[in-house]
């Protein structure tokens, strides 16, 4: 893109912001319908670097910055922060790791399912290896034998030959496997995952049970799973770090309150933001809260432990701060106070010693070898905060090269990720829509009545032009869905300004859809998918009996998004539902979004028909064999 084109785009973005604001202000006038803003602005996103993760080279002389939006690794001089090189990698890189010697840098490109291998001497990509679905984290073992890659969509950790990239096997990880950490002794890999694991047994109350997650512990030498450390009532597990002596492990996570009616946010009503501590210093894993009574540590993500094990640093993406924990005080607290601690909002006063405000959506962080500086990647500011660990203040800020103006989309994304809007900063849109997706949970929202209309949280990708919103179609458009409804029943503290709401709606409408991994590269269907399409489209059942138009899959799930945007009764109403009319769910990337049905009662796509469609009201399916249902599911996965 030329500089002139870039300037043109920025001017267009600014112009559009004004235009959108006018549209929206008009839309909000009494007596006028609230209208969605029209504009496809996805290309605006390409301008920003969006630093997500940071790494220092083993000798501490270079700083590598993973730039998620510009699809680059930027290399800086770690002393002067001067740019050394920018290296183009694959689409939407999400994780990276250096080989133990530092001679190779591996980058997981989450949207094109590749791994870029960078020669750190030449500072160029020397290989691009195909890997699994949505690779998000990578780490190499100490002897350069195995490379481990966490695949978010296939929920596994692929084991690759570290020299050739050839996949040797896959290990089952948690759902949404994403982040990998090598233990300091190099013996084990620790994998975390961002969505809760599916319930192993069907009880009929899966959607009302406590979410379970895990830390998957892998033997680095043998590449086998050694252990799964359970994380009870946790959904959303992010980075994990060890102390240099390997005796203290810590992982950042969300502890949702999705089973309690969401009547208010005070007193940790929606989420606790926690760390799980484990390792020899701890014994049995312990979960400790980061929140305070009136200040929440929303969206904890990155975590680092000081070289002398004096402090733990945690980035809080929604709260736009770094939380600092005094480790000796933490140890004293957990050794002198009986747990559990998560329900005690005053517990953190015993060990949290500072909150350091940084930029917007701070994510990855890296400590210098001497522990004197902590660098924090502010993803939605295109900056890196350099924190002096002695003063616990931001000493300087590195600005990434890129646009200086903030586009409508960028502001919208900032609004989506911040927790500022909610009561005491407890939650943001991205708390439940992790990385702009979903959280795999069902929630009991207050306005429908306590215990009534329990709803599954759905994917936002492709949400544009699928109104009405909510399962019951109660919100006619995105400005209503994101605005008054969210302000009243989620934020419970603050109204959006018209401009901010416009930004947010524009961002949500423009969310790009992830590539579908179940389609063949050329877009053609496999034989099973073809058979599934035929079943999806059929007008007569296997006995030759016509299927009423309204009971055909292709009727309600019609159109490019797989929804006719109408309400219908598919026989899934529960006694606790206020109504049986539900909106036909869009099918965009439907296979990724378990659980299914409006209340998340179906653990799998198959259960929609084998368990919850006894009367063929949700399409004619009871004439199908298991193989035919599998074909139908194979087709749905391509949507």
């Amino acid at each position: 893109m030329t500089g002139r084109n870039k300037i043109g785009m920025h001017a267009a973005a600014v112009g559009f912001a004004l235009l959108a604001a006018v549209f929206f202000a008009i839309a909000l006038m009494p007596g006028r319908p609230v209208r969605a803003v029209e504009r496809d602005t996805a290309s605006d996103l390409l301008d920003y670097a969006s630093p997500l993760e940071l790494l220092f080279s083993p000798d501490g002389k270079r700083l590598y910055v993973l730039c998620q939006q510009s699809n680059e690794i930027r290399v800086f001089d770690a002393a002067t922060y001067a740019v050394i090189n920018n290296i183009a990698v694959g689409r939407t890189p999400r994780g990276f790791a250096l080989s133990p010697s530092g001679d190779r840098l591996f980058v997981a490109n989450s949207w094109d399912d590749t791994l870029s291998v960078i020669d750190t001497a030449k500072l160029s990509v020397i290989a691009t290896w195909p890997v699994g679905a949505e690779p998000s984290g990578v780490v190499e073992d100490r002897v350069a034998k195995h490379l481990f890659v966490a695949n978010r969509i296939s929920n596994d950790i692929a084991v690759l030959d570290a020299l050739t990239g050839e996949e040797q096997k896959r290990l089952l990880g948690g759902r949404g496997a994403s982040y990998l950490t090598l233990s300091p002794d190099g013996a084990r890999i620790y994998a975390t995952h961002i969505y809760p694991n599916p319930s192993p047994l069907r009880t009929g109350l899966e959607n009302r049970t406590v979410p379970e997650s895990e830390i998957t512990v892998i033997d680095a030498a043998r590449a086998v799973v050694l252990d799964r450390i359970p994380l009870h009532s946790v959904a959303g597990v992010f980075h994990l770090a060890f102390s240099n002596d390997g005796r203290l492990g810590v992982v950042a996570e969300y502890h949702p309150k999705n089973l309690v009616p969401l009547a208010h946010l005070e007193h940790g009503g929606a989420f606790a933001h926690t760390l799980t501590l484990f390792g020899a210093d701890i014994g049995k894993p312990i979960e400790v809260p980061l929140d305070e009574l009136e200040r929440y540590a929303a969206q904890p993500f990155g975590v680092a432990i000081a070289p002398d094990k004096s402090r733990i640093y945690v980035t809080c993406g929604g709260s736009e701060m770094v939380t600092v924990i005094d480790v000796p005080r933490l140890m004293r607290f957990i050794h002198t106070h009986a747990g559990p601690y998560v329900q005690d909002l005053s517990a953190s006063s015993n060990y949290v010693v500072a909150h350091i405000p940084v930029g917007r959506n701070p994510r990855g962080l890296a400590l210098t070898r001497d522990g004197r500086k902590l660098l924090v990647a502010n993803r939605l500011d295109d900056t890196i905060s350099v924190i002096d660990s002695r003063t616990l203040r931001v000493a300087s800020t590195i600005t990434m090269a890129g646009p200086k103006t903030v586009s409508v989309l960028r502001r919208g994304e900032q609004t989506f990720y911040t927790a500022r809007q909610s009561f005491q900063g407890q939650i943001g849109c991205a708390t439940c829509h992790i990385d702009s997706t979903f959280d795999g949970l069902t929630w009991d929202l207050e306005p429908d009545g306590f215990g009534r209309d329990v709803v599954d949280n759905k994917l936002l990708e492709g949400v544009k032009d699928t109104e009405p919103y909510k399962w019951n179609g109660g919100n006619p458009n995105l400005p209503t869905e994101c605005g008054p409804r969210t302000e009243k029943y989620f934020w419970r503290s603050q109204n959006y300004s018209d401009l901010t709401l416009t930004d947010l709606v524009v961002y949500v409408r423009s969310m790009p859809t992830r590539p579908n991994r179940f389609r063949l590269p050329g877009g053609e269907l496999t034989p099973a998918q073809e058979r599934g399409l035929a079943l999806f489209s059929r007008t007569v059942d296997k006995f030759g009996k016509p299927i009423a138009e309204s009971n055909r899959c292709s009727f309600c799930h019609s159109g490019p998004k797989g929804t006719n945007q109408k309400l219908s009764d598919v026989g899934t109403r529960k006694a606790t539902d206020n109504a049986g009319l539900l909106k036909a769910a869009p099918l965009t990337n439907i296979a990724l979004t378990a659980p299914f049905l409006h209340d998340g009662s179906a653990r799998t796509l198959e259960e929609i028909w084998t368990v919850y469609n006894p009367d063929d009201k949700h399409g004619r399916t009871n004439d199908l064999t298991k193989d035919e249902l599998n074909d139908l599911i194979e087709y749905l996965r391509t949507r």
């Binding site: 309150k257 606790a272 009574l293 306590f450 009243k488 419970r492």
Partner: protein, 474 residues
Amino acid sequence: MRFPARMLAAAALFLASLPVGGLSSSAVKADIIVTAAPVYEPLAALTGGERFPKGAQLLLVHDGKAEPLVTGLAASADANVSFDGKTVLFAGKQAATDPWQIWELTLATHAVRKVLATETDAIRPLYLPGLLPEGRLVYARRGPQGFQLETARASEAPPSYASVDTTPAIIQITFLPGSAIPADVLADGRILFEAGFPLGSNSEGHPTAELFLVYSDGSGVESYRCDHGSARWGGKQLTSGDVVFTHGATLVRFTSPLAHEAPIAAPHADFAGAIAETASGEWLVSARANASARFALKFWKPGTPGLISLLAEPGKDIVEPVLVTPRHRPNRHPSGLHDWSYANLMALDARLSRAGDLKSTPASVQLETQDAQGHAVVTGTTPVDPDGSFFVKVPGDKPIRFALLDEKGAVVRQEQGWFYIRRGEQRICTGCHTGPERASENRVPAVLMRTTTPVDLTGVTPADAAQPKAPGGK
């Protein structure tokens, strides 16, 4: 507004009496407004009494000189500067025998207007952030059972065509058998208020002052902290989020991390609460050497040993300092109240309490309200589920309190005071008096696994329900 000549003469005499030589104009760059009163009884309103029984007058401290802020009124007090720093709300009396009313002064012109005309005293007005520039205000108005908080539109003009503020002109937001006096509007949008502890203590008694919180629509009323002290009042929030207040006569604070008050290493003095914080973090305080001395306006830089005198006047207390500067607008609370005449309340685990968790689950829970004479009336009981949860429908906008009963109907635990839930409010309590530090566990309350219909403890019979209801607002 025109002012009689004798008022101007009185003002001139008053100005001559001011000890302007004591002012330190360099210490505080912004103008300051204070209330000067011959007698100041800060907690009198909690028992329905008069805080300024011998009158009061607002003074504007400008360039080291103090002069009356308002002329033409017999009394003025309780200044609150708007978020843009351009106007001042205050309580005033046109004649000494009038009730206190709410007025607003425009600083640029010193023009004043009566914002609210009430038949009884209306005091301590505070600006609330609204959807429109004029916003709303909260104040305390004297009623049969003491002062109650109300909110009102700050503008006399009807909402403009673009307004989305369709709320009634005046809304009562506390419903207590005792007084509530607003102290500050917090950054999160909630109103900090003083009331007797236990909440709803009868105004004829001698309640212990305590600080409470409520949303601007009257929902979510609760204690700020549950380490209740002997007398807490005069709370103001700092830009850090801490709330500084007077406990007895000492300055203390609530902080976000702690479930209990924290000391402030302030110089030894009696403090009258209601501090003001300068842009650079110093405090303006009303302090006196001892109970027999007068409150004077002092300047204090936290962490330093001494107070610097700014303004003192023989025979008068100088209290309630406010800075005339723009300030951060608090959050606007979007009310989610339903259009109901009742409220719903769910306790997640009634066994939990700051007073010690119950070892066994109580058999049932009993709800009481008050009749027109203030007598406690039982409206019903319902079983408590094995996990300690219960879900009940309660009368809205009325004093209520719960008691936990054993299998024989004997009281196991009982609320000490009274609280209320707004009509249309749905509320969840983690336990019974668990304190704000106690967060909920993530589990479905057992009662919701049985039923999603709350047990009706409103005490309203079907015949009652057929009667027309009084509106929630006025």
